[in-house]
């Protein structure tokens, strides 16, 4: 994978620390995610990858350290404020409203961009209706078409197979029109074909002119990580032990020892 031309820092994590009781989940982690890249976080279970994502999007408040998004310190902001700035994420275990349709779930992700108030929304005429149509158009053109979920748009999410639910979750995150996308194990539980589809979607989002989303990816499927990432950081017991292009990280002796060496069987690629 070639480096994207831009070297601008999009997201900066600076000396982040957090502990739960006596467990130090993150021990001073610092990262720079550049604009327009796919940045992967790997490491054994319990290394602190998801905790780091939670700190970035505001689910956890770190004990110390800074999170800078486009130069602005966001560590003190509530999660929905960060979402409004353009940080979206998907979850390791699907967090959708399983009783609602696919379309309604995606619309919910769009809510942040709606300007209509409750009253005018209820009357639904003029400006409110126009706005709704514009958003619906966006969802159809840019999201449903891209992620190939047209055939299930009116289906109840809970009735869909797992692979499709994962796609719907990504769709909802996209409805936010994020500038940075945090993806927590998007490939987990998918079959080979679905993994390939998902990898293609992530590449599309990253490279397609209309999107150009910076992606932070937590993933165990090494084949995918090495294929699509521009840079990879390795966490182990809350510490960053390596960072760099996939080819370099793969041969880093410390990484092989800490991660690939010990639990090789668990993390072999599907390919």
């Amino acid at each position: 994978m070639t480096q994207p031309g831009l070297e601008e820092i999009h997201l900066k994590v600076d000396d982040l620390r957090i502990s739960f009781g006596g467990v130090q989940a993150l021990v001073g982690v610092s990262l720079d995610v550049r604009r327009g890249e796919i940045f992967s976080l790997i490491g054994p279970n319990g290394a602190g990858k998801t905790v780091l994502l939670n700190c970035i999007n505001g689910l956890y408040r770190p004990d110390a350290g800074r999170v800078l998004f486009e130069g602005q310190d966001i560590a003190h902001l509530a999660p929905h404020k960060r979402a409004a700035l353009g940080i979206a994420r998907t979850f390791q275990k699907i967090e959708l409203f399983s009783g609602m349709t696919v379309l309604d779930n995606i619309r919910l992700g769009r809510h942040l961009h709606m300007r209509t108030g409750i009253l005018s929304g209820a009357i639904y005429a003029g400006k409110a209706a126009r706005e709704e149509r514009v958003h619906r158009g966006f969802i159809e053109r840019e999201i449903i078409d891209l992620l190939e979920i047209a055939h299930v748009r009116d289906k109840i999410v809970g009735m869909l197979p797992y692979g499709l639910q994962k796609r719907v979750e990504l769709a909802r995150a996209l409805a936010l029109q994020p500038r940075i996308l945090l993806l927590d194990e998007p490939m987990a539980g998918l079959n080979l074909e679905e993994v390939e589809d998902m990898a293609r979607f992530i590449l599309d989002l990253n490279e397609e002119e209309r999107w150009r989303v910076t992606c932070v990816l937590v993933e165990h499927d090494m084949g995918v990580v090495m294929d699509i990432s521009h840079r990879v950081a390795v966490l182990n017991f809350g510490e960053k032990i390596a960072e760099g292009p996939p080819a370099e990280v793969q041969i880093n002796p410390e990484v092989t020892r800490a991660y690939l060496g010990e639990v090789e069987d668990l993390y072999v690629s599907r390919r």
Partner: protein, 651 residues
């Protein structure tokens, strides 16, 4: 019911071509809707004027890129307006259209592109472009690859690639430089020019390219419409592969002759929903499609509450009774008519609506024979289903049922201007203005198929006292048991497949002591059944080998056996560990069994079935669509059908 279309019938003169008729239609119907495509959740209409514009500029664009009269233009992709624009444009520019199945494997694409000497390939999007680029090195005659769906295409730099809209831009430039060029190109065509090079799916050997002329196609469309008229206001849904002659028949020939509106579904996955939204007036589809519809109903039935099932059963019984009256051409007594009206209001009407058949006037089934059970079912729910018989070599159709003269076991009577005869050997031969010109680069096969203007079909059959054609399967597909009794495996297979639990059946028995079957269970229906019966399973393979599933299938086969003559009953069977798949070459792209291939591939398995053993180990290669191959190993159990030999014949 030979309704006459609005206005006068179009006269097919020797110089009339598809493009000329198209240009005439487009002028006459100008701002009326020619086609619709569902895109981003909305049906978008395309007027005849816009259709003409798109075709005109694409045709000129091709000319600007160097297309000469008679050049082949290959096309691959799903059914979409751009596909039709490209085909019509190729014809307008004097080219010959060659369609490929969207899911064709690399080898097939390469063979056809190379064999047809195509210089242009119109692909849909990334997937098709990938295929095209891979084969390009091995197809030196291929010059340009056109694509229209930009998704994922941003990084493609190959100089052979050109975007659909870019071709049209070149066309606009040419139009500005040389006004009247398009009209001149269209004017140049003659009825006897070749318009389609159509590769037959070939259950046996490499595909053969049939050459069809404009007159062939137009005559066929006109003669079919003389039997069953279509109106300009009619709707038709184009969802079957354009590489199938049946779709060309409806979308191109009949579409232009009748001027009805074509509707393109949003995605291949949304066809069923889109069909219901449009609710077309005519459908021509393969037997597969109707089998799938029946299956959908059966599955819903299995899922319904007891009360609903009772109502359904009752209504269907009435429907069957009325269908039998209709098929026997006897008027139904009034009490039955009254009951029929009730059943229709309560059940059949809703059923038709759900299947997208609520406005249907004529539903045709072609390709391979549809079993009589399916046939009766559709007539029972009030769908005017008819059989069509024909082949690519006669532009798709030569024989069809008339609305007031339908028999389940025949394929009907020849369409106008068509003669059908039976040779002393029992082979069906036909002659009409739609008989093709020969196979491309294959004079030997042409000589075998075309003799004195007669088309030798390779099918056996006879003409019954009512003048209906009865067609057996391909001559080579009639089985003779070792005791000399004959049966048709396809008939048995169709009977077996009427069970919702059986997706595919492959019947054996040629020169064997008895008939046996290899069954592919329907994973979704059997899976649901397993769930209801608390049977745990992880894979298709495991599900297929579960003893309780075997028992279920055993019961289904016994039911089918009960309706068969003693000699043709299935005595042994096994559930295969995988479904038959066109990617594994077990089926053709139109989903017919490729028997010779199956015999070869499952040779050991067949031997074991007849050896009397009750288990067999198999290892087969599974091919993924991108060409990767994986090995699958399994042990399959072979089961007997109890008392298959001494059942009373109830037929």
């Amino acid at each position: 019911m030979s309704r006459v279309a609005s206005g006068v019938e179009i006269e097919i003169t020797p110089d009339l071509t598809i493009p000329k008729l198209f240009a005439r239609r487009a002028r006459e119907q100008d701002q009326r809707v020619a086609m619709r495509e569902k895109e981003f959740g909305i049906w978008r209409p395309i007027t005849w004027a816009a259709y003409l514009d798109n075709v005109q500029f694409f045709a000129l664009g091709l000319a600007a890129l160097g297309l000469r009269r008679g050049d082949r233009v290959a096309m691959i992709g799903d059914n979409r307006p751009e596909g039709l624009f490209a085909e019509m444009a190729a014809l307008c520019a004097g080219g010959v259209a060659v369609w490929l199945f969207q899911d064709a494997l690399m080898d097939e694409v390469q063979y056809i592109v190379d064999h047809s000497d195509a210089r242009f390939l119109v692909a849909e999007g990334q997937e098709e472009v990938d295929k095209a680029l891979t084969i390009k090195a091995r197809c030196p005659k291929l010059e340009r690859i056109v694509w229209d769906d930009p998704k994922g295409m941003r990084d493609y730099q190959d100089p052979a690639l050109i975007r659909f809209t870019e071709v049209q831009r070149l066309g606009r430039e040419l139009a500005a430089r040389e006004p009247g060029r398009f009209e001149a190109m269209v004017e140049q065509g003659q009825g006897e020019d070749i318009c389609l090079l159509f590769y037959t799916s070939g259950t046996t050997a490499k595909p053969k390219g049939a050459l069809l002329t404009h007159t062939n196609m137009l005559k066929m469309g006109q003669n079919l419409l003389r039997v069953d008229a279509c109106l300009e206001a009619d709707d038709f849904v184009s969802f079957l592969p354009m590489a199938w002659i049946g779709e060309q028949m409806m979308s191109i020939s009949c579409g232009l002759m009748a001027g009805f509106t074509l509707n393109f579904p949003e995605e291949p996955e949304t066809v069923v929903a889109n069909l219901r939204e449009i609710s077309p007036h005519a459908i021509f589809s393969s037997a597969r499609f109707y089998e799938q519809m029946v299956r959908t109903v059966q599955v819903k039935y299995l899922d319904a509450s007891r009360a609903k099932r009772a109502v359904y059963e009752c209504a269907l019984d009435i429907g069957y009774r009325l269908a039998d009256f209709k098929l026997a051409k006897r008027p139904a007594p009034w009490p039955w008519q009254a009951l029929g009206f009730l059943a229709d209001q309560v059940v059949h009407k809703k059923l038709r609506d759900h299947l997208g058949l609520s406005r249907i006037r004529n539903a045709y089934s072609g390709g391979s024979a549809l079993g009589p059970d399916y046939f009766r079912f559709f007539h029972a729910i009030g769908v005017n289903l008819k059989q069509i018989y024909g082949q690519t070599e006669i532009a798709g159709i030569s024989v069809v049922h008339r609305s007031d003269d339908i028999k389940c076991d025949t394929v009907g009577k020849p369409i106008p201007e068509t003669e059908v005869r039976i040779t002393p050997e029992g082979e069906i031969i036909s002659r009409s203005p739609s008989v093709f010109k020969g196979f491309y680069k294959d004079p030997e096969a042409t000589a075998k198929t075309l003799r004195d203007g007669w088309l030798y079909s390779g099918d056996t059959g006879f003409i019954d006292p009512d003048g209906h054609l009865v067609f057996f399967d391909r001559t080579k597909d009639v089985f003779i048991l070792s005791d000399g009794s004959r049966f048709s495996p396809m008939f048995l297979e169709s009977r077996l497949k009427f069970s919702p639990y059986i997706k595919d059946a492959w019947v054996l028995g040629h020169q064997r002591p008895f008939a046996a079957a290899v069954i592919c269970i329907d994973s979704s229906v059997v899976g649901k059944w397993a769930e209801d019966n608390r049977i745990a399973y992880t894979s298709y393979q495991e599900l297929s080998q579960d003893p309780r599933v075997s028992k279920l299938i055993q019961g289904e086969i016994r039911k089918a056996n009960a309706l068969l003559p003693a000699a043709a009953r299935v005595r042994r069977f096994l559930n295969l560990h995988k479904e038959f798949d066109a990617d594994d070459e077990e089926l053709t792209r139109t989903r017919k069994l490729r028997r010779a291939f199956l015999e070869d591939r499952y040779h050991d398995l067949v031997e074991t079935i007849y050896s009397g053993a009750d288990r067999v180990g198999v290892g087969t290669a599974v091919t993924y669509e991108d060409g990767r191959v994986a090995q699958v190993k399994a042990e399959l159990s072979i089961l007997e059908i109890p008392d298959a030999s001494d059942l009373k014949t109830e037929n």
